[in-house]
């Protein structure tokens, strides 16, 4: 046990070292003003190659059809749905940080909110790709929108798959608007700073005539609060509805009432792991260690140990009730998960999601960059496997042993998955070069001494 005495009478500074407003501006905008260095191009080349592999696989899937994938009877949902749920989960941290932590008045969110929000948008874009591919008729997506048409064709309003379309697209829209709203004051700052004429024009257009006036700020704060209020239920609803995709059915292992909160906890869990992983690099390469501090990373690790334990609780509860219910199919599915042909996936999931994150109870590990990076990666591996376990084990062996099957992904499945990572990181690499990765205006407001003091 550590013997260091913590002084609880003082609040820890959100930003270290009391930088001045102009220092913050300089350090945050630095990457935007210079030509990307060689390292960036290397990274860009890698992610772009991954993206092209994904593009190739999409092209082939369109040209030849979904027979290229590993899905079969009875496992009709394979990598595509697993990846969809995985990416939507990743996309949960951003708006949670910007909306829910805003409502909870957590000031440490300022340093990480912008980046996390951007990641949300990119992750939801990656997620949206998969169901679209999964439909197999990628040229008919307009029928997902309910509109009066001459064919008299209507969507199935009672299907949670349709609710998904609404939930995810609403979430994407609101997250985008939220992100853009937060960007406006920063875009104005960029507009005022830049010397290039082209940039100035672009920034001027997108900063919507922002003048940093008192009245602007008043409206801005109001709008931000209202949007945060709207976005909060949205954050929770998206993965809730994703969980409905499974839980409303009568497939053993899918139909269980704890699914909604359990999926939301898992989503926040994986989202925070991804944000933590990427921020470790960002703060390193862009000299933002005083703005995205070790304390922030530690707090994210705390959120991970909390949500990871919630997920662990759900696993345990599912197991208990499967036995308690006395339903032989439920009991079988859970035993099959732990001991059947996919037990390796199950135990990967349990160890990555429940066991390793428990190390975050130890302060030293919570504050060690290499340790937290490794645990963050295992969390994302574990959360991917969780979806794999849920989707594949339940479908491969349900009621009738004569109709059991086995699922083996093909190279095209792997290629599509790789491609989604390519898309995600390509977008991130572009983002860090064209927009400030940290909210300049918000960080200025949380520097020590920047707050008005009450008496």
């Amino acid at each position: 046990m550590s013997t260091t005495v913590i002084d609880y009478t003082k609040e820890l500074p959100v930003v270290e070292g009391r930088p001045t407003a102009s220092q913050i501006e300089v350090v945050v905008t630095a990457p935007l003003d210079q030509f990307p260095p060689r390292k960036w191009w290397y990274a860009f080349a890698v992610t772009l190659s991954m993206l092209s592999i994904g593009g190739f696989c999409i092209g082939m899937s369109l040209y030849k059809g979904l027979g290229l994938w590993g899905v079969n009877q009875p496992v009709g949902w394979g990598f595509d749905i697993v990846n969809f749920v995985f990416w939507v989960g990743i996309g949960h941290a951003g708006t949670l940080i910007s909306a829910i932590l805003f409502l909870l008045r957590q000031r440490w969110r300022t340093g990480i909110a912008r980046f996390a929000e951007a990641m949300t948008i990119f992750a939801v874009m990656c997620a949206g790709l998969f169901p679209l591919m999964h439909t197999g008729r990628q040229w008919l997506p307009m029928y997902l929108t309910p509109y009066p048409n001459q064919h008299g064709l209507w969507v199935n309003f009672t299907s949670p798959l349709l609710w998904d379309v609404f939930a995810v697209s609403t979430y994407f829209t609101v997250s985008l608007v939220f992100w853009y709203l937060g960007l406006i004051p920063d875009l104005a700052t960029l507009r005022d700073r830049t010397t290039s004429k082209i940039k100035k024009t672009i920034y001027s257009i997108f900063s919507l005539g922002w003048r940093h006036s008192n009245r602007h700020w008043q409206h801005y704060e109001r709008a931000y609060l209202i949007l945060a209020g709207f976005a909060t239920p949205l954050v929770l609803s998206v993965h809730t509805i994703v969980s409905f995709d499974f839980a409303v059915s009568v497939i053993p292992g899918w139909h269980t009432t704890i699914f909604p909160p359990y999926f939301v906890a898992g989503a926040v869990f994986s989202g925070f792991a991804m944000v933590q992983n990427v921020l470790i690099f960002v703060r390193q390469y862009f000299n933002l260690k005083h703005i995205i501090t070790l304390d922030h990373l530690e707090k994210m690790n705390k959120v991970m140990v909390l949500t990871g334990s919630m997920v662990g609780y759900a696993y345990a509860m599912e197991f208990f009730i499967a036995w308690y219910s006395g339903s032989q199919f439920e009991t079988f599915v859970f035993l099959n998960r732990a001991l059947g042909p996919y037990s390796w996936a199950y135990w990967t999931m349990v160890s990555c999601n429940v066991i390793f994150p428990q190390l975050f109870w130890i302060k030293k590990i919570r504050r060690s960059i290499p340790a937290m990076f490794l645990i963050g990666i295992t969390v994302n591996i574990g959360m991917w496997f969780e979806r794999f376990v849920i989707v594949v084990t339940s479908l491969s062996r349900d009621f009738l042993p004569s109709s059991w099957g086995h699922y083996t992904p093909t190279l095209y499945d792997a290629g599509l998955f790789l491609g989604s990572f390519g898309l995600f990181f390509t977008l991130i690499l572009i983002f860090v070069r064209v927009l400030p990765v940290v909210s300049i205006s918000e960080v200025k407001a949380v520097v020590e001494g920047a707050q008005p003091s009450h008496h």
Binding site: V5, S249, T256, P260, I321, Y324
Partner: protein
């Protein structure tokens, strides 16, 4: 900083407690079965407030919250109810056969499902679980409060660190023990029925009941000059917490309902069917209105959360809602249809009396504010 409850309030407390005990005794002599079911409601109600308060104490420590520090003592006082909750439960142990179908070994013998559940649902293990759960809660409560009270004199910061560590151990224990309580006392009433979310469902009500009780007491104290240093920022935070958990409860309740309704499996839907016949459908609809719709709209505006009158009203309202929720959980097992009589109204009286008496007892002995807490000053200065 020691303040006593006015003797008038204390007398009311004793009177309510007395009336409650009388109803308790008459109830058990007139209709032991109905009394036992009401006892389950009363027991779960007092457990909610007691263990919910301990949870709030742990939450403050582990989250490093400062705003709630000046009011923490109220939670610490209320947590003391874990010591008396088993006393409230005691009479039920003589009537377990009336309450739990699975204690009837004859019926279990012919029922394959119940036979399968016997390793969990049997009397010995049930009593062991009850004892262990309450032993754990009392242990943690005692440790938390001991450190907190010690700090009043010593102002030792290490005690805060100790309590933070304690909270880290307590939270997983709390999750498991509360789930066990919900399964044992609510789910096993209908021994064939099961739902993985029920533990979370009871948790949402638990926190609501604890926050509501604390809010009412804190506002009352403030109005009577006890906790004068609290500002509207503190009350706003209490109101926001109530509002958040109102939504959380609705979310969990809706999730459970929708998934069972949609999948439409008879072994699960029967539980909701029972709550949709013989007049219970009115209670079910009432629950949605009372437990969600009304508090949602009355607590939504920013001003409402700082309005002391509104907060007081809403705390009582939410406590009633939690009672209604427990009634809705428990009573359909007693009889089909709505049962309402003097016993249903009488048992909560006992609990309220108990809370007041407990408060009077604790206030006489301990400071009303954790004066030695290192975060106290930050807590008092807390502004939104």
């Amino acid at each position: 900083m020691k303040k006593e409850l006015p003797s008038k309030v204390k007398n009311i407390g004793w009177a309510l407690l007395f009336v409650g005990i009388v109803i308790y005794v008459i109830g058990y002599t007139v209709n032991p079965r109905e009394a036992a079911f009401n006892n389950v409601i009363g027991f779960l109600f007092i457990t909610s407030i007691a263990v919910g308060s301990i949870f709030l104490i742990a939450l403050e420590y582990i989250a490093g919250a400062v705003w709630s520090v000046p009011m923490r003592r109220v939670n610490e006082f209320l947590g003391g109810l874990v010591l008396v909750a088993p006393l409230v439960a005691l009479p039920m142990f003589f009537h377990l056969h009336d309450i739990f179908h699975w204690t009837d070994l004859g019926a279990v013998g012919t029922d394959e499902l119940l036979k399968g559940k016997q390793p969990y649902l049997n009397l010995n293990f049930f009593i062991i679980r009850f004892v262990v759960v309450f032993a754990l809660w009392n242990l943690f409560y005692w440790l938390f409060v001991r450190n907190s009270l010690k700090q009043d004199l010593s102002k030792d910061q290490k005690l805060t660190t100790q309590n933070i560590r304690l909270a880290a151990v307590f939270l997983p224990v709390f999750a498991i023990t509360l789930t066990v309580t919900a399964v044992d006392w609510a789910m096993s009433l209908e021994p064939h029925w099961f739902s993985t979310i029920l533990g979370v469902y009871y948790f949402s009500g638990t926190v609501l009941a604890a926050v509501a009780t604390a809010t009412y007491i804190i506002v009352k104290f403030h109005e009577n000059g006890y906790l004068q240093n609290l500002k509207r920022d503190h009350f706003y935070s209490l109101g926001a917490l109530l509002f958040a958990f109102i939504n959380f409860w609705a979310y969990i309740a809706f999730s459970q309902f929708l998934l069972i309704w949609y999948a439409n499996l008879p072994e699960e839907t029967i539980w909701f069917m029972k709550r949709w016949e013989g007049g219970m459908q009115f209670v079910s609809v009432l629950l949605i209105i009372v437990h969600f719709a009304v508090p949602y709209f009355l607590l939504l505006p920013q001003e409402a959360k700082m309005n002391l009158k509104r907060l007081k009203f809403m705390s009582i309202w939410i406590l009633f809602a939690h009672l209604l929720d427990l009634y809705w959980l428990v009573m359909p097992t007693y009889a089909n249809g709505v049962t309402i009589g003097w016993m249903e109204i009488g048992f909560p009286v006992l609990i309220v009396g108990l809370i007041i008496v407990m408060l009077g007892y604790k206030m006489k002995r301990h400071n009303l504010v954790p004066v030695g807490d290192p975060k106290l000053e930050r807590g008092l200065k807390f502004r939104l």
